[in-house]
């Protein structure tokens, strides 16, 4: 049985800035558009690979302090950058690969998500870019 339990160690960088200590959820998803190629004579639908449109979704604690969440993201909204996600803080290896989206786009940035008695948290999504995985 293969499982992955995340206690505290995934490593997240946004535009080369390590935001691991402000992040409590991260998900990178490869998405390759499906182009239907079903033709006469087929008895089921078939598809071929189209353009890639992978995403990285992050849940972050919002902070307006120097070099924290807001300072990292404010100048990135509406632009493309590079983001990385690694399952654990251990050295990069075949069992701990680092996933990268290069040239990925940040479309929206929630500025304040305030609620009485709760920490300010924001969810952001980086879309598109070139996906790569490294094991060294």
């Amino acid at each position: 049985m293969a499982t992955s339990t995340y206690l505290s160690s995934p490593v997240v960088t946004v535009n080369a800035v390590d935001l691991t200590d402000q992040c409590n959820a991260a998900a990178i998803t490869r998405f390759l558009e499906a182009l239907e190629s079903t033709a006469f004579g087929s008895s089921s639908r078939v598809y071929v690979k189209g353009l890639e449109n992978s995403t990285l979704t992050l849940s972050l604690y919002n902070s307006f302090a120097l070099t924290e969440t807001y300072a990292t993201l404010n100048a990135l909204v509406g632009t493309s950058t590079t983001v990385t996600l690694k399952p654990t803080s251990a050295a990069t290896s075949a069992t701990n690969p680092i996933f990268t989206l290069t040239g990925t786009y940040l479309e929206t940035l929630p500025l304040v998500n305030g609620q009485l008695g709760a920490l300010d948290t924001i969810d952001i999504v980086f879309t598109g870019g070139v996906f790569s995985v490294a094991i060294v």
Binding site: A16, N74, T79, T102
Partner: protein, 54 residues
Amino acid sequence: MKYEIVSPRIGTPGDEYEPVEGVNVDALLAGGFIIQSPNKAPKGAKTKTDTNEE
């Protein structure tokens, strides 16, 4: 253009920052993570002052 690391979120403060492909350097500057390294002006040639009054 050379850059110096200010925030430990980027690397070791004081070290030179080498821009990586795909990283938005302007955003790092705007966020205060790095600064432009001060360019030292080249020393000018020393000129002798002629004090010999004739």
